[in-house]
C-alpha cells in the first residue's frame, strides 16, 4: 500500500506521514517506510511524505504508483495527480484543492479539514484532522493504533486537542462513507 500525503511546506504533511508510519510499524504490527520530497523552499513550497505500509519487508523504498494520494494544496494536486494508480483513492482538503484537471478513474473523498481544525481549536491541527480522515476512509490501520501514534508524537499538553482533531476527521470520514 503506497500513500502520498502532499501539501505545502509548513502544513505538517511530514508529521502526518510520520504518525501513520509509526502507527503501522510500532503499534500496528506491519512494516512501514517513509521517504520525503521537498521543494527547495523552507516554507510554502511543495512537500510530500511518501509512505509504504506492508505486511512484508519493504525492499524498494520509494513510491512507484501510489494507491492513495492525499492532497492539501493545489500545487501538490497538479504535481502528483497523474502518478495516482488507476482506481486509486484521492483524498483532498476541499477548500484548498480544486479538481482541475478532472481526475479520471479514481475514488474521490473530500474533507473540509481546515474548517474542522478551526472548530476543534486551532488551524495547526489540520494535518491531524486529515490523518483521522485518511484512517476513516482507508481503514488501513485500526483507529486505536493511529490514536496511540498521535498521542505518542504530539507535544505534551496538546494531546486533548489532537485527539479531538483526529476523532473529528475520522467521524467525518465514516459519515461521508455511509
Amino acid at each position: 500500500m503506497e500513500i502520498r500525503i502532499a501539501g505545502f511546506g509548513g502544513q505538517g504533511v511530514m508529521l502526518a506521514g510520520n504518525i501513520l508510519g509509526k502507527a503501522a510499524s510500532i503499534y500496528g504490527n506491519k512494516y512501514a517506510t517513509m521517504t520525503q520530497s521537498f521543494g527547495p523552499e523552507a516554507r510554502g513550497g511543495y512537500a510530500s511524505s511518501c509512505l509504504i505500509i506492508s505486511d512484508e519487508k519493504i525492499l524498494y523504498p520509494y513510491l512507484t504508483k501510489p494507491d492513495i494520494l492525499v492532497s492539501m494544496s493545489q500545487e501538490a494536486y497538479t504535481r502528483y495527480i497523474n502518478d495516482l494508480k488507476e482506481g486509486g483513492t484521492l483524498i483532498i482538503e476541499e477548500e484548498l484543492v480544486k479538481l482541475e484537471p478532472e481526475p479520471k478513474n479514481v475514488k474521490i473523498f473530500k474533507a473540509p479539514a481546515t474548517r474542522i481544525a478551526e472548530q476543534v481549536g486551532k488551524k495547526v491541527v489540520l494535518n491531524i484532522v486529515m490523518v483521522g480522515f485518511i484512517a476513516g476512509i482507508t481503514k488501513i490501520l485500526d483507529k486505536e493504533v493511529v490514536l496511540k501514534a498521535i498521542l505518542d508524537t504530539v507535544p505534551k499538553g496538546t494531546e486533548d486537542m489532537n485527539k479531538k482533531a483526529f476523532e473529528s476527521g475520522y467521524e467525518y470520514a465514516v459519515k461521508n462513507l455511509s
Binding site: G17, S25, I26, A32, T33, F38, L59
Partner: protein, 395 residues
C-alpha cells in the same frame, strides 16, 4: 563491556537513518563530535547537538571539515570516543585526516551520508560513489574499515559496529550511509544498554615509565595511553618507530606501513561481514551493499520467479573487501552482477577477485535515486545470456 545507559534511548522508534545513526553513536559511547553542517548528513549532528548536553559530552561545530576531522582525534587522544559526520564535499576535505588517523592509529569514526557527486553534485539525492574514496582517498598505503547500512535500523547497529572495529583495530572506520538511508524513516529498535556489547579501548597496562606509544601486541595493534596519564606519549604523523620517534628511512617505512596494512589484512577474516541469499545453486550472484542491496534482493526474487537461478551476496563490511569469498564463489557460479549506485567502483574489486573465472557485470546507476529492481533484473538476464562475455561493462 556494556553500553552506558545514559546514551541509550531504549525503545521502538519511527526514525530516519540520520537520527538513528546519532543514537547509534551515542549508544556506542561516542561523547564527542566535531562537525560541520552539510546536506544530507546534517541531521546527525543536529540531533547530537541536542542530545549531548543531556548525556554528558561535547559537541562543537568547527570552522570546516578539515578542523572537524582532526578535532575529534584530539578528543580521542584525551580519552574519549569521537566521530565526525559529513557528506561528499566534506568527505573530500577530510581525506588528509583519515590518513592521519591511519598513521597515528587513532580509533575514530567517519560517517559519510553519500550524495551525488563529483563536486557539489546532488546535495539532496543519494549515491554510493564515494566507496573507492573511502578506501583510497588519502595518500599513501594504509587500510581502513568501511561498513554500509541499508536501513535506519542498521544505521544504529552499524554505528556501534563501526566503533567496535575502530577500538579493536585502532583504525578510522567509515560508516558509509547514503541520502536514501539517511532520510528514510522506518522502525528502529534500540535495545537496552545491557544488550549492547562494546569493545573497550585497548588501554596500556604496563607501568607509565615503560609505555611505548607504538609497540604492537601480537595482532599488530598497539595499546593506547591518553594524554595526561604520565606516559609521555609521542604521537607522530611522520614515519616513526615504536617510541613514536620520527625515523625517515626505507627500513622504518617498511616496518611501520606494513604493520598498518597487515593489522587489517591479517585480521580480515574476523572483520568481513556479509549476508547470503539463495547462493547455493546460484548461476548469477548479485553483489551489492547499502540501500542498493535491498533493491537487489527484490531483483533476485524477480529473477527466481522467472526461473533464473540468482542469488545475493550483500556486503555489510565493504572494506576490507572479502577477496576469498568472491574467489570461492567465482569457482562455482557463472556470473557476478555488481549492483551499486555509481558508474563502477566495487565491481572492480569483484572483477579482480573473480580472476576471470566468472563473468563480471555492472548494474550501475549514476545516482540521484536508487535502482528500480527491474534495472538490476535486466543485467541479471544479460549475465545468463550466452552472448554476453567476460568483463562486459554497460552503463
Amino acid at each position: 563491556m556494556k553500553a552506558d545507559t545514559k546514551g541509550v534511548l531504549t525503545g521502538l522508534h519511527f526514525m530516519d537513518g540520520d537520527h538513528s545513526c546519532c543514537e547509534g553513536l551515542l549508544a556506542a559511547g561516542c561523547r564527542f563530535i566535531g562537525g560541520y553542517p552539510i546536506t544530507p548528513s546534517t541531521e546527525v549532528v543536529e540531533r547530537f547537538a541536542e542530545r549531548i548536553p543531556k548525556v554528558g559530552g561535547v559537541f562543537i561545530q568547527m570552522e570546516d571539515e578539515i578542523a572537524s576531522s582532526i578535532v575529534i582525534q584530539g578528543a580521542v587522544w584525551a580519552g574519549l570516543k569521537a566521530a565526525t559526520v559529513t557528506s561528499g564535499p566534506g568527505f573530500s576535505l577530510m581525506m588528509e585526516h583519515i590518513g592521519l588517523a591511519a598513521m597515528t592509529e587513532t580509533p575514530c569514526v567517519f560517517v559519510n551520508v553519500q550524495r551525488g557527486g563529483p563536486s557539489t553534485g546532488l546535495p539532496t539525492l543519494p549515491a554510493q560513489s564515494d566507496m573507492m574514496q573511502a578506501k583510497w582517498g588519502s595518500h599513501g598505503d594504509y587500510e581502513i574499515i568501511a561498513v554500509s547500512p541499508n536501513s535506519p535500523q542498521e544505521c544504529f547497529d552499524f554505528a556501534i559496529l563501526a566503533f567496535n572495529y575502530a577500538e579493536q583495530y585502532r583504525v578510522p572506520v567509515m560508516l558509509m550511509m547514503d541520502e536514501c538511508v539517511g532520510h528514510m524513516y522506518e522502525r528502529v529498535k534500540i535495545p537496552s544498554a545491557d544488550e549492547i556489547e562494546l569493545v573497550e579501548r585497548r588501554w596500556a597496562t604496563c607501568a607509565a615509565g615503560e609505555y611505548l606509544t607504538y609497540k604492537p601486541d601480537a595482532d599488530l595493534v598497539p595499546r593506547m595511553a591518553k594524554a595526561g596519564d604520565g606516559c609521555r606519549i609521542l604521537v607522530e604523523s611522520l614515519t616513526h618507530d615504536e617510541r613514536g620517534y620520527p625515523v625517515i628511512t626505507p627500513q622504518a617505512q617498511k616496518k611501520l606501513v606494513s604493520r598498518l596494512v597487515n593489522k587489517i589484512k591479517n585480521n580480515a577474516h574476523k572483520i568481513y561481514k556479509y549476508e547470503e541469499y539463495k547462493i547455493e545453486d546460484a548461476e548469477v550472484i548479485v553483489v551489492s551493499y547499502g540501500i542498493t542491496s535491498r533493491v537487489a534482493f527484490k531483483a533476485v526474487e524477480l529473477a527466481r520467479q522467472k526461473g533464473i537461478k540468482a542469488g545475493l551476496l550483500r556486503l555489510i563490511v565493504v572494506w576490507p573487501f572479502p577477496e576469498k569469498k568472491i574467489e570461492e564463489l567465482a569457482a562455482k557460479t557463472k556470473a557476478f552482477v555488481t549492483a551499486e549506485m555509481n558508474l563502477g567502483q566495487i565491481v572492480l574489486e569483484v572483477e579482480r577477485c573473480a580472476h576471470g573465472k566468472a563473468k563480471t557485470l555492472l548494474a550501475g546507476h549514476a545516482g540521484g535515486t536508487v535502482h528500480r529492481p527491474e534495472e538490476i533484473l535486466e543485467v541479471i538476464e544479460k549475465a545468463i545470456s550466452p552472448n554476453s562475455s567476460v568483463g562486459i561493462w554497460e552503463l
